[in-house]
């Protein structure tokens, strides 16, 4: 190859690099090549130091929910054609990816009661941030985002980072006025309560703001009515197909009413036909995106969460109409059972009026301290917030798990 190029060494090809900066030796301070066995041992020993969620009773939710993933999902997403392909720039040889995206978009739109959804966002927090930026584009001149009820702290923090760039701020719903481009409401909210979206809609309409609904447990939409009152619905779909992954990769989704289509961020797949008249799919409405509009793009997003969206689509397809609703019902039933069990524990009060699979309990001790004690018994408690704890269950939570937490709490709160 060197001969064909006409140089004597590879370093000749780096002639544009100032010679004093072209490294001769490998960089100091990093290990050299290691074989597969050694590398496996290193990773296995790192993994062994972590307490996996499945190793004992586990009640953490707070935006990242542990569900059962059917065996088929991981098999399919490890197929080369899904795992190692890229963005479908050449649609003739990417109809597989495009058909998956089309079904993902459809399923998200159906679940959320919206008319159009994109091919995915990084996660629920960033999709909320992007929805606020979109609200500013639609309601130009407005500078604030109002929040009704309890929003996930990470979602708030991430959105805050983006709002600051627009000299915009969050305001509480009590201060909702015409300076607000959107009213944001989480459904169910961070403490598990299920807000009344008709009321939220009326509040938004009173000031001409958009209604943005945030759903961070997608399974809830199998039992709760779709948030059709919204203009935009965003959130987290990783409950299906994806797994916890220490918080990433997750799966953000973005759906809205058709009238806002051209203001949406992200990739969108659409139906069309080829020169032979056969139906097919292509990425479409690209004029919104960074590779076409550059500084005028609706977002800078390029790579999104493709393989996670594929995993979700497979899982949701396996569940189907009945399975999805049944799964949601099972989750809620577990939560109802758990709420009853915990209500009977001396010193514990269930303070959520309504909930799906996550609710809040209150006691006299500091919840973080309680969690420390629970951990000594290999129980991972819920999200600690002062003397409140937000506990989540799913179809994976067993009766023994619930009994274990209840009896330990009773001990600790004595």
């Amino acid at each position: 190859m060197l001969k064909a190029i006409g140089v004597s060494s590879v370093n000749d090809l780096y002639d544009a690099v100032p010679s004093e900066f072209l490294l001769k030796k490998p960089i100091d301070g990093l290990p050299n090549f290691q074989g597969e066995i050694e590398v496996e041992n290193i990773l296995k020993s790192l993994a062994a130091q972590n307490r996996a969620a499945g190793e004992g009773p586990f009640f953490l939710g707070a935006g990242c929910y542990r569900h059962h993933i059917p065996a088929s999902v991981d098999h399919i997403i490890q197929r080369s054609e899904f795992l190692t392909s890229y963005t479908p720039y050449q649609p003739e040889i990417s109809q597989g990816t495009l058909a998956v995206i089309f079904q993902f978009q459809s399923i998200i739109a159906l679940l959320t009661g919206m008319e159009i959804a994109n091919a995915s966002m990084y996660d629920g927090a960033t999709s909320l941030a992007e929805s606020c930026l979109m609200a500013f584009r639609i309601k130009s001149g407005r500078k604030n985002i109002a929040v009704l009820g309890n929003l996930h702290p990470d979602y708030r923090e991430v959105t805050q980072t983006y709002l600051e760039l627009n000299d915009a701020s969050f305001v509480e719903a009590s201060k909702l006025d015409e300076s607000c481009a959107a009213l944001v409401v989480q459904y169910p909210d961070f403490y598990g309560n299920i807000p009344n979206l008709d009321e939220a809609r009326a509040k938004a309409d009173a000031v001409g703001a958009l209604l943005v609904v945030v759903v961070n447990e997608i399974v809830s939409l199998g039992l709760l009515e779709a948030p059709r009152q919204a203009d935009i619905v965003v959130g987290e779909a990783s409950s299906l197909g994806v797994g916890l992954n220490f918080g990433g990769p997750l799966l953000g989704f973005f759906a809205c009413k058709k009238e806002f289509m051209r203001q949406m961020p992200g990739r969108i797949c659409g139906m069309t036909s080829d020169v032979d008249g056969k139906p097919g799919y292509v990425l479409t409405l690209s004029a919104r995106e960074q590779h076409i509009r550059r500084e005028k793009a609706t977002s800078n997003i390029c790579s999104n969460q493709g393989l996670c969206a594929t995993a979700f689509t497979i899982h949701a397809s396996l569940l189907g109409e009945n399975g999805f609703k049944k799964l949601a019902l099972i989750n809620h039933k577990k939560a109802c059972e758990f709420a009853e069990i915990l209500s009977a524990v001396k010193g514990v009060k269930v303070i959520s009026e309504s909930f799906f699979n996550e609710f809040t309990i209150e006691f006299a001790k500091d919840a973080a301290e309680v969690n420390k004690k629970l951990l000594e018994k290999n129980i991972i408690g819920g999200f600690a917030d002062g003397n409140k704890m937000v506990v989540a269950v799913s179809e994976l939570t067993s009766a023994q798990d619930m009994a274990a937490l209840a009896s330990e709490l009773e001990e600790i709160l004595k």
Binding site: A109, F246, N304
Partner: protein
């Protein structure tokens, strides 16, 4: 009506699952639920509108869909700027260890010390490779890395009481650069490229003279999107630093110089990485990626949260003192951190140096073999990708698009087309280091064949290509004019 089977061989079609619905079918065995009193505070949902299919139907559908997809596992994928190198399967095995996949981001830090140590090690690899002071793994993809990096620069300036508004960006930049700068509220001044495909040094100096201390930063990709190492980079960095601006380096093309050049040495202050490019994490049909950033020591306190630090023998997730905040929920794309670190450990510092050398060698080999058949806009050797245009073939009415579709017909994914925008009809070819010489030769032979066909007046048929793929050319205008984005849209 008589039934006649279609002659398809292995070209199996499949309808989307909603069209295969069989009432009552379900692909997951779930126990029945006896009635109980709901506590959702509203009426329960009646219908969603999903398909009803069983597990064999689902698997068959997705298997058939996968057969309509090209992938790097299947063949050559020289997509310039994307670094479609082989995705080692060890990465996948490690990412699936329950201790790494079945952990929740909000677990007590004492229960995830292995995960935090992994992140700390990856931060360390990135800062050591680059010679920069520290790194954050928070950003979810390259574009988010750019955002985080520019936020760090913005905050660093604000901390000095400076409210600089200008960012200089070469006209050859990837679209995410200006999109990101705009989101951060900067005004963009475009630096034209010169006849060598590099930043025009004279015009750059003019911009610096004109805007001086209004310049927050320059956003440069190096090697650049024309496949060239910016030979004046040290001077460019010096001039920006002289007026108190920062040098942001888009690290999408890092594969050419990893282990060969330390970005800190050439003046980089802030840089993002694409773990799904340089560090082999799979592209997944459009993500997930991961876009960590590394920054100079004095900028470490501004890094996005969360960041992993070491306190004694404990690893701690924390928010740096003057952090720009969170750009993404939770901890970043941890699953991709696992895969990237596995790759780095497998190669080692010596192996990574060889990766860059092989990538550069391969691209120059392609350039040397094709330069007599295609227009090469910028002379001299290239880095890990080479840039050609359709100037010669355009004279016969054959464009980059037609030649790309011809490559598709001949069993390969085409190169990146129509990017960068600084040349007409761009073809950006990045073979990567994981291809055999035989595969690269096959690509070269095919490209020469195409060029010769066009030269002989036989190129018109490429307007109709591809012919043998699951679908032929698709009507993108129709798709945009009347968008149909769901199966239930009327």
């Amino acid at each position: 009506m008589t039934f006649t089977p279609k002659e398809v061989g292995l070209k199996l079609e499949t309808e989307i699952l909603i069209k295969q619905t069989r009432k009552g079918a379900c692909g997951v065995d779930l126990p029945d639920v006896a009635d109980f009193k709901l506590r959702i505070g509203q009426k329960k949902r009646e219908a969603i509108g999903l398909a009803e299919v069983n597990e064999p139907q689902v698997i068959r559908h997705f298997v058939r869909l996968s057969n309509q997809n090209y992938s790097i596992d299947a063949g050559f994928y020289p997509l310039g700027s994307c670094t479609m190198k082989h995705n080692p399967r060890l990465n996948e095995k490690m990412a699936r260890l329950p201790g790494l996949s079945d952990i929740h981001p909000m677990q007590d830090q004492s229960t995830v010390q292995g995960a935090l140590e992994l992140m700390y090690n990856l931060q360390n690899w990135l800062s050591t490779l680059t010679g920069l002071g520290g790194a954050s793994l928070a950003p979810a993809a390259g574009a988010q890395g750019e955002l985080a990096g520019m936020l760090v620069i913005r905050k660093a300036l604000q901390a000095k009481g400076e409210n600089r508004k200008i960012v200089l960006i070469p006209d050859s930049a990837h679209g995410t650069n200006p999109a990101t700068a705009a989101i951060c509220g900067f005004n963009i001044k475009v630096i034209p490229s010169d006849s060598e495909g590099l930043v025009n040094l004279d015009l750059f100096k003019k911009l610096v003279a004109e805007h001086g201390r209004d310049i927050a930063a320059i956003m440069i990709t190096n090697p650049n999107t024309c496949g060239k190492f910016e030979k004046n980079i040290v001077e460019i960095a010096r001039l920006i630093h002289e007026v108190g601006g920062y040098f942001y380096c888009d690290g999408a093309n890092y594969n050419a110089i990893v282990g060969k050049v330390r970005p800190a040495d050439i003046g980089v202050d802030v840089m993002h990485f694409n773990l799904h490019k340089t560090f082999s994490t799979p592209h997944g049909g459009g993500g997930p990626g991961s876009g960590p950033i590394a920054v100079r020591q004095d900028l470490v306190e501004f890094l996005p949260a969360p960041h992993v630090k070491k306190e004694g023998d404990k690893y701690v997730l924390h928010a740096p003192k003057q952090t720009v905040g969170k750009v993404k929920g939770f901890n970043g794309q941890f699953g991709m951190h696992v895969r990237a670190l596995t790759y780095m450990l497998s190669h080692g510092a010596d192996g990574l140096q060889k990766v860059a050398e092989d990538a550069v060698l391969s691209a120059n080999y392609v350039l040397a073999k094709l330069k007599d058949h295609y227009h090469v806009p910028f002379s001299g050797n290239c880095m890990h990708e080479c840039l050609l245009t359709d100037k010669i073939q355009k004279a016969q009415g054959i464009s980059t698009l037609d030649m790309a579709k011809a490559l598709v017909e001949y069993g390969m994914h085409p190169m990146t087309i129509f990017f960068p925008l600084v040349v007409q009809g761009a073809m950006l070819i990045e073979p990567t280091e994981t291809e055999t010489k035989e595969t690269v030769d096959n690509f070269i032979d095919t490209m020469i064949y195409i060029a010769k066909q066009v030269a002989a007046g036989e190129g018109d048929r490429f307007h109709q290509y591809p012919l043998s793929t699951p679908r032929r050319r698709l009507d993108e205008i129709k798709a945009a004019k009347t968008p149909v984005t769901t199966w239930f849209a009327s």
